[in-house]
Assembly symmetry: C2
Homo-oligomer: 406 residues x 2
């Protein structure tokens, strides 16, 4: 008699963004005439860059001719793309990454969800609170999180509170707390939009090395950094011995629909002499068949000189939206965080409203959709996330609606 993975039955409710989608659907069904501005889920709205479009058309054309048709690609990614990532993405940071340390995938969500596969099933895990829910839910599914508590925490996860008091930067755990084996960090942060400087990140790298922990560093939003802050954890000394980095084309080049990301596993990262690079290579070549050839060519085009110029324009467009939201809410006297080196704005809800109360109010009275901070973890209660990925018109209109409402 087959048995299910009981860990699934411990997951509370459904996925945060599905919940939001349901409330929005119910509202639009009841009020078909009301216009909705969506600044909730972090999805982009600008079209793909002309260089990318041109590369996609060319790749499609290749698939139409037996002489240029490509079937199965290398599971870990085409060299033409891995080389560009090494040369352009890391090269300009002055970071040396070999092509066989780069694993191309269909996105950072898959990779951050799957990376736990290569570690012991009962590994201990630390996450920030608030946190991107995928880190927590995938660990819960794999049995690493333990049991869900009424507090909104899982009993086997070590939570690192990120609050206004600590500037939304997690503090190094006390030496009296057993060091977590796996540590998820994300900077610029989703959801708080906070960033980490090289000194604080060095502390985390040193902590991980001292304790033999592995850091999962999600750098999906690094292209939004404008100040002098690390874009990659490999800018930090010693990170090659303790960190795996996840990157994405989603927010950098608008690939949310066409799917592309990559993960870096440095060869120095070893446990008992076993290279994690080999384990991840084995996992990916056995359970994955490579990202779409079309999307990989699109990714290559992002790294051309013209492609870089074009994506920078789009990023600047979103950065300007972030400024409009940030300054608009600050002008109302609200407490607002992020939005400077990140596409996310994290705000303290006014009038001590709970995150979901504020969500419902904003949806029902202003037709603006955001994300309740409590959906990212208990420490997110009383906060709310807005994203900069809407159109400039909608973003300005949303702020105007919020101003009118309050």
């Amino acid at each position: 008699m087959a048995r299910i993975n009981e860990n699934y039955t411990r997951l509370p409710g459904s996925y945060l963004f599905s919940d939001i989608a349901k409330r929005v659907s119910a509202f639009t069904a009841a009020h078909p005439d009301r216009s909705i501005i969506r600044l909730g889920i972090g999805d982009v709205t600008r079209p793909l860059a002309p260089s990318v479009i041109s590369a996609l058309h060319q790749a499609v054309a290749e698939q139409a001719d037996a002489a240029t048709f490509r079937g199965y690609g290398p599971e870990l990614g085409y060299d033409f793309l891995r080389q560009k990532i090494a040369d352009v993405h890391y090269g300009r940071l002055g970071v040396k990454i070999d092509t066989d340390e780069i694993f191309v995938s269909d996105g950072a969500k898959s990779d951050t969800g799957n990376i736990g596969d290569i570690f012991a099933a009962d590994s201990t895990v630390a996450v920030c609170d608030p946190v991107y829910p995928v880190y927590v839910d995938t660990n819960a599914m794999a049995g690493k999180a333990g049991h869900y508590q009424s507090s909104g925490h899982w009993d086997r996860i070590l939570y690192l509170p990120c609050t206004q008091e600590n500037g939304f930067i997690p503090e190094i755990p006390s030496p009296h707390v057993p060091a977590p084996e796996l540590i998820y960090l994300c900077f610029p942060n989703n959801p708080t939009g906070s960033t980490i400087n090289a000194i604080d990140l060095q502390d985390w790298v040193d902590y991980a090395r001292r304790n033999g922990s592995v850091i999962f560093y999600d750098a999906a939003y690094e292209s939004y950094i404008t100040e002098d802050l690390p874009h990659s954890i490999y800018e930090i000394e010693g990170a090659r011995e303790c960190a795996i980095e996840f990157c994405s084309f989603s927010k950098t080049a608008g690939f949310t629909g066409i799917r592309l990301g990559f993960t870096v596993v440095p060869k120095e990262l070893r446990i008992d002499g076993i290279a994690l690079n080999s384990l991840w290579a084995r996992r990916q070549s056995t359970k994955f068949n490579g990202a779409s050839y079309l999307t990989q060519r699109a990714g290559e085009a992002v790294y051309s000189e013209q492609g870089q110029k074009e994506i920078r324009e789009t990023i600047a467009y979103y950065q300007d939206n972030a400024r409009v939201i940030r300054e608009g809410l600050l002008a109302m006297g609200w407490s607002v965080f992020g939005g400077k080196n990140a596409p996310y704005i994290w705000l303290k809800t006014p009038q001590n409203l709970s995150s979901w109360e504020f969500f419902d109010l904003l949806l029902n009275k202003a037709g603006v959709v955001g994300t309740p901070g409590s959906g990212f973890g208990p420490a997110g209660e009383g906060y709310f996330r807005l994203t900069a990925f809407g159109s400039a018109e909608n973003t300005a209109a949303a702020i105007e609606r919020i101003r009118t409402l309050f």
Copy 2:
């Protein structure tokens, strides 16, 4: 101190097709002048159908314009594609599948690899021998396979021998053997090219229902069936209560490079009242962000009237290759199986050569690459797989080279 998943250290050597690639690379490096014909890995060579190409160009063009740009799609697949799969793929078989029972993914390899996630970590597993290595390796990685034995078997897996004696159809386990909880079946079979008729498949469905087992039915090659045989396990009574089906666009429409597949989890399939459909939906929406929009539009085009006509022509082309291989080797007096309702030809090696001896001989003396049967499991020793996915010219030339050699 982080610990690795020790199951990875139990995996013998590397993935079969990587091994083959290495031997071929070494040969071509040593003999750059010799031409190689690859009938090994099951990769297609014909270009994408014109309808598909046209749909891809159109989808790319949509991504160039903010008004038609699409970002994140539904994680489980766009309705436009799920509806076509329900209407065309299953409709013509007279099988009713609801759209929310269809999960679109980046390919059957990912799904057959990931499906184990939703079952208990110590579930017992049965596979055919020989078998597509992904079924075994992914279970080994997840700890369900136990330990690897010198026999080439894993000690916690129940192997179902598929031999010339049983026509390469696995026999129902004796009632004295504890019934495996999860049973992998693949028909038309990879690697043997064998097919199962409705009566034998009904026996498996009845066995699974009697024992509460779940069948994972890999139907990736169903479009190669020409005779009156089941294309889907759901043509069999009771299968909706016990079977999950995997399908792929790779061999049906040449999507090996652009990645698309789907998995069906019927709503009647429940364990202790819990619908596996909900568990898989949760797994996919948490750990996956949907297949590329471009590829999903390409999949939709496959189901248009013109698309169906075009892919049938390509399938007929490969079927003719299969006939050429099959008849050519039969004419040499060899024992040959499959190749009739399947793109794979499974042959008994001549002169009692081992599978790898025959591989090396064929590579070195004839410049033909196939797949050693022993790579698919111990019962594959002394057999060899050739695929019909080459060009017609190469296929004919390969058979001519083999004829000359022997």
